[in-house]
Symmetry: C2
Subunit: 517 residues, 2 copies
Amino acid sequence: MANRQVAFAEISPSEFFYRNRDLAGFSNPARALYSAVRELVENSLDACELFKILPEVTVTVSGLDRDSEEPDPKPYVVTVRDNGPGIDPRYVPNAFGRVFFGSKFLLRQSRGMFGMGGTMAILYGQITTTKPVTVVTSFDGNTTYTFDLMIDIQANRPIVLRRESQHGDGSTGTSVKLTLEGDYFRAAQKIQDYFKQCAMVTPYAKLTHVDPQGRKFPFERGTSAMPNPPEETLPHPYGIDVEAFRRLVKQSTQTSLVKFMSSSFHRVGPKIASQFLQFAGSDPNKNPGELTSEETVRLVEAIHRFDGFLQPDASCLSPLGSEILDAGIRKELQPEFAATSIRPPSAYSGYPFIVEVGLAYGGRVLSPGVKLFRFANRIPLLYDEASDVSWRVISEEIDWKRYRIPPEAPLGIITHVCSTKIPYKTVGKEYLADRPELERELKNAVRDVLRQLSGYLKKKGSMEMVKRKLNIYGKYLPLIARFSTNLAKAKRPPRYGKLLGKRDSPREEQRRIEEYS
Amino acid sequence: MANRQVAFAEISPSEFFYRNRDLAGFSNPARALYSAVRELVENSLDACELFKILPEVTVTVSGLDRDSEEPDPKPYVVTVRDNGPGIDPRYVPNAFGRVFFGSKFLLRQSRGMFGMGGTMAILYGQITTTKPVTVVTSFDGNTTYTFDLMIDIQANRPIVLRRESQHGDGSTGTSVKLTLEGDYFRAAQKIQDYFKQCAMVTPYAKLTHVDPQGRKFPFERGTSAMPNPPEETLPHPYGIDVEAFRRLVKQSTQTSLVKFMSSSFHRVGPKIASQFLQFAGSDPNKNPGELTSEETVRLVEAIHRFDGFLQPDASCLSPLGSEILDAGIRKELQPEFAATSIRPPSAYSGYPFIVEVGLAYGGRVLSPGVKLFRFANRIPLLYDEASDVSWRVISEEIDWKRYRIPPEAPLGIITHVCSTKIPYKTVGKEYLADRPELERELKNAVRDVLRQLSGYLKKKGSMEMVKRKLNIYGKYLPLIARFSTNLAKAKRPPRYGKLLGKRDSPREEQRRIEEYS
């Protein structure tokens, strides 16, 4: 038999994401520029909020060669500076120069989920321009550290090109400066939208964006009230698997099952622990360290079958709340009417979450039609809308006709999900998977705000009614005309536009047809 | 200033995907069972095809406790056996027990893309049942090796519990047996569909599925003609970035730029290399090892601006071809009419690809309406249809009315993309990103098969015409009835069903409305 050799190789995490950078949101120069900005801003906001520092974040994007008339794509320098707690210099090289090294691996609500966004931005900059990243940071105000770093992509290790320290100016914070091949022309709108929407849900943050023309886009603080920092939480039993259970046993110093259960899990105290162990048929005094594999598996299966565990409470979560959500909507969208719906805490797979939905109706900022604004852990999600659970809910699970909203009305639906683990489908944090529990809460919240809108519209009353009657004729005439045309096999429908005084776009017609069927 | 400490940590690749197994398609027991089956089958088919072995793959799924009447989810034993080339025992532990170790890191068309599907299946089995995976393999027929393996998830290293060797029986191949918490009740349909669709595009493979009841579902070989094995290819200049360029320089033994260019890139010979270097203003005799960072960056920029490089040719690709596609469609869908469209090779970002589209019309297997079957590198894609570029094309970019296809007709559209790099958006290989080049080719191919269908329907002639006229009345009456009801503000539309002798489902009506607007 011929010797058939297959070539095996190993690659590092950074190599993997270098080759598959699409997975992390760095597919092309426009997208990469957006992703670099958002990942660094999200790191800054997370850091500030962890220590309840009123955030001040400035993002500057400028062409590397300012005088250059070169068209996009071309090298851009992206600088993100914050007034956060700074980073201990011992960790700076690894935090920025190593994939899978970071501070986001705890069970706690934060914007960052995978601990690699900043590193990916630096990696992308490096592979398109060979320029190092410069990190300047102070964590105590006394000393400022400056690093020039690159990534050894094949080894997943940082390369420190320069490290200096100087006297600090008394303030803490971090600034990250990287150079990457970007396309600001294509990315500008998304970057602007990102800041606007950030401002909507983070009114206590002062954000400033400086574009390549040097124009400043400030987003001033709307309030000084900050939410409490999110807290780390114990794992919930419903989210546990055998591997996780074994690790908890290994870490635990408890010598009895009942003490182990009541100290390792979220909202499990001695009483519930005893009830569970009785249900599972286990000896509460048994030493957890002596469980066999089989016993462990059976215990974990019992955990998933036992319905006596309390649902996760959301004390570890940091929702926006009605006030902030309403204020943000009013500030950015200036609607005629706004409504909010804050759902009670819920959970999926043992992870607590809270859904908050806002609605903006009318006014002059929104265009006619329904626009969806999605947020997760206070991050705006601007890509892959059609794949997101929120989109599914509003396009498939809401019976719009019930609420009698005029189709030409400008309407914004704002969805925010906060959780210790956001169910992103991709490392690039583009959209949320459709977990049934999430879907259910979103549907209920959207219905709630639509009901509130309905009530407002009813009160608004007869003026609208009369107008709509006139519109009905405007809606049906085109349809009747078309069907008659088809039946009669005429080439063109008769001109009815003059009868109504106006004509809608084909898309408007189409939507109306769908709505009234 | 208070000392504000942030806890940094590092996690291994297996730990990362353990915590984020949703990213890899292992979100819940039903999905995990499906993913385990598909990943292992895809490994087997890739291995066979690489050495042009007519594949024989058997997949057995059985409850761990066969007598158990326990409901799903529960432990299942999944065994996948093939007649492939086997695996060198030196590589077995790492190939299965280590994330980012594998044979899929070359630039070559294969089903596996990320080199981690099999390992994820084993990881999932381990964390839900603590049972090891058993791998039995022979690469020369003389000796058979048996391994029991587990994964040290935190360290990303295999744990070899057992390793034995015995006399072989003369045949080569590999079998993988793992135990995982699965939900066959929920996964059954998708697993069945997976095999059916695999058979559609791999008619030279003999596939057998044995379900938990012991029922055998064989998919016999339709042909013994196998495609040529895919070949590894040189990178194309349009796909190169600075990091990749530097690595090529490092690996190369050439001492002049022109020789380096003409030996490192796909379809770049001395003539084109010279033309390019002239365009770039570089000295063709310069030693590539002496290029500075700046010069490298400028050269790579020039590569992307130079339009003299030849488009990738697809000699390294392995498309299905018209015959196989047509045969597969006819065998599995038994249509009244079938059509295929094979596009010429194209490329995105320097990666060559070929789009092949098939159409099945009528017959008794398909249900009324349009059904999309998606394939990439001969893998059926059964999830996240609405996010896929193919779905986008058929739902947004095809003017269906032009082809006058009766809406109640059963219609299947089959799309297949083969490439050295499939633009998956997720590690779970669920759907393809909408690259413009891909979209364009898909659109052209779908239009082509629809045109062929139109031609067939025309010839089919008057019988259909008469039938449709009768149907038109059936289509319009419900609409007119509804609008009149709305206008008259009656509660219910009048009953017109009896007039027609039949009534369509609301969904049929809806589609008809959309089509005729």
